[in-house]
């Protein structure tokens, strides 16, 4: 364990984007949140806002 730590130090740092891609649980969160908001929640909001049928002159 201690040895491993040593080799990790002094190496170039891992790019932030790589850390992001490796973070499966952050991806899990975003992968659910984005479509739920953009598709489902927005869609439900539109359904709720549909106006009643107006009165038409016969």
């Amino acid at each position: 364990m201690a040895e491993e730590k040593k080799t990790e130090e002094g190496q170039e740092p891992v790019p932030a984007w790589q850390l992001f891609y490796d973070n499966i649980f952050l991806l899990l969160f975003l992968g659910i949140a984005i479509p739920t908001l953009v598709y489902t929640v927005w869609g439900l909001m539109e359904i709720v806002q549909i106006p009643e049928l107006p009165v038409f002159k016969p």
Binding site: Y21, L27, P35
Partner: protein, 500 residues
């Protein structure tokens, strides 16, 4: 720990993982058999000069075809891949294997419920079951149980990769194949959660405990299940492409960053494409439609374009390394075309990319959708994605995994080598017939397009007859290819020569 070292791949294969992969895969193939048989009946009925089934059985078996082929075959296979990538590829075990068995049992019970109630004639609602068209409660219950089972299995994926990291099976980064299945599992959680959210109230409505389900809301949420589950397929299929290229050719992804970016684009942006089922629905505003299908969906299309570049490129590099360096296409000529695991992968890339991708992008535009919605052209489009794409890829996956997992040789190797071509060509012919007929307005899910007993006489352009016959011929070829696949795969699993 109970494991063996695979003599072919060097992977450490734990018995727990191996059994789960085996059972899910075999179950998948059995449901493909059932679904494919129903597909044969569909093709024979939509073929005008044959018109085989009566109306009632046509709609009943259409329900079963969609459910068995689309949901059961593909999801069981994907759950097999969940265990393959989250345990075997990482040389590690399955955490709490009983969870996997519970998931499997739930899926199987749900699948049985649905099949039985539809066969009994109590749920002729097609797999979309748009409310207020009502099926027997057992139908919805079956779907809920199945969805909970599948959700459990996708959850199990995450548990496995956490444990694998703790066990030191990987340091920071999942192998690309596992990463692809992580994308599939993420989408699976989104999809199946929506499925549960809508099917539970619908179940209560079907047994009269709830008075009313809004049909617009149902369609919105249903398609987050119905369409997003196709994105599970896309991710699992692409992961299968990478894995097949790696196992068969020893190919390396040309650039991990590029390939992973494509998967991340899927995870973030592909699900909202569900909207394209609602383009000509009332209710949703133009903005909702355009943003969901237009802007962001194209990021997912971009991802597919990336894979379509990265995988053939990695194959080229690998084959050139093997010494096939003459000219531009020497590598292509010398690819292992006789190995069904390879040829199926290649055919799947072409079928999905060209036939499926192009029709998808076109039909998914708002304006074009008006003249294609619910026509047979749509059926053509998704047979390109889900049959010539996903199904063919998974057939290749089956050939690949039989020696590794079942430790058997493929029987009838000549027939096996020929099978992917027959199947892919059959499906391609079939779907081209469908797309052509659909462009003249021929509807999908329709028993009698001659309208012989309808009140007003209407008939389509006579050329649709030819297109539908082309569909029929292609369908028969595909079914023949499917039968060979089933004989070879199940035959190898049961009677193939043991490899170790």
């Amino acid at each position: 720990m109970d494991y063996r070292i695979c003599s072919l791949t060097g992977f450490k294969i734990h018995k727990t993982a191996e059994d789960l992969v085996k059972w899910n895969m075999v179950t998948a193939i059995l449901f493909l058999t059932l679904g494919g048989f129903m597909g044969l009946l569909m093709a024979l009925t939509r073929w005008p000069s044959v018109h085989y089934l009566d109306a009632t059985h046509y709609y009943r078996f259409l329900t079963l075809h969609g459910f068995n082929a689309l949901l059961l075959w593909i999801l069981f296979f994907e759950i097999g891949l969940v265990y393959f990538t989250s345990a075997i590829l990482l040389n590690t075990r399955v955490v709490a294997p009983f969870v996997g068995w519970i998931a499997y049992a739930l899926m199987l019970v749900g699948a049985m419920f649905v099949n039985i109630v539809v066969f009994a004639g109590k749920a002729d609602v097609l797999f979309t079951s748009y409310v207020p068209l009502k099926a027997n409660g057992v139908y919805y219950l079956g779907i809920i149980i199945f969805a909970v089972g599948a959700l459990t299995a996708f959850g199990h994926f995450f548990a496995n990769i956490i444990q694998a990291k703790r066990d030191g099976a990987y340091k920071n980064t999942l192998p690309l194949g596992t990463f692809g299945l992580a994308a599939a599992s993420i989408i699976g959680v989104f999809t199946l959660a929506h499925g549960a959210v809508i099917m539970i109230p619908v179940f209560f409505w079907s047994i009269d405990l709830i008075k009313y389900i809004d049909p617009g809301t149902y369609r919105l949420i249903f398609w987050a299940l119905g369409h997003a589950s196709q994105q599970i397929n896309v991710c699992a299929m692409v992961a299968m492409w990478y894995m097949s290229a790696a196992f068969v050719l020893g190919a390396n992804p040309v650039n991990e960053k590029l390939s992973r970016t494509a998967f991340v684009l899927y995870i973030l942006f592909i699900n909202i494409a569900s909207e394209h089922h609602l383009l000509v629905d009332p209710i949703f505003s133009t903005w909702h439609k355009v943003v969901n299908t237009g802007y962001m969906m194209h990021l997912a299309v971009l991802a597919s374009m990336i894979h379509a570049f990265a995988i053939p490129a990695s194959m080229e590099v690998a084959l050139r390394k093997k010494g096939y360096t003459k000219g531009l296409f020497d590598w292509l000529k010398n690819a292992p075309w006789g190995n069904p695991a390879f040829s199926a992968t290649f055919l799947s890339i072409i079928g999905f990319g060209f036939l499926g991708g192009i029709t998808g992008v076109i039909f998914g535009t708002e304006q074009f959708n008006i003249i294609r919605h619910n026509t047979f052209a749509i059926t053509g489009h998704f047979h390109a994605t889900v049959v010539s794409g996903t199904t063919v890829a998974f057939m290749g996956g089956t050939y690949l995994l039989i020696p590794y997992i079942f430790r058997r040789e493929i029987i009838l190797p000549r027939l096996a080598a020929f099978q992917p071509y027959l199947y892919a060509i059959g499906v391609a012919v079939m779907l081209i017939g469908m797309i052509a007929a659909g462009s003249y307005g021929v509807p999908r899910r329709h028993w009698d397009i001659t309208f012989s007993s309808a009140i007003f006489p209407f008939s389509f352009d006579p050329s649709t007859d030819i297109f539908l016959s082309i569909m029929g011929v292609g369908g028969l070829l595909a079914v023949l290819g499917g039968v060979i696949f089933i004989i070879v795969s199940l035959g190898s699993i049961m009677f193939g020569r043991r490899t170790e």
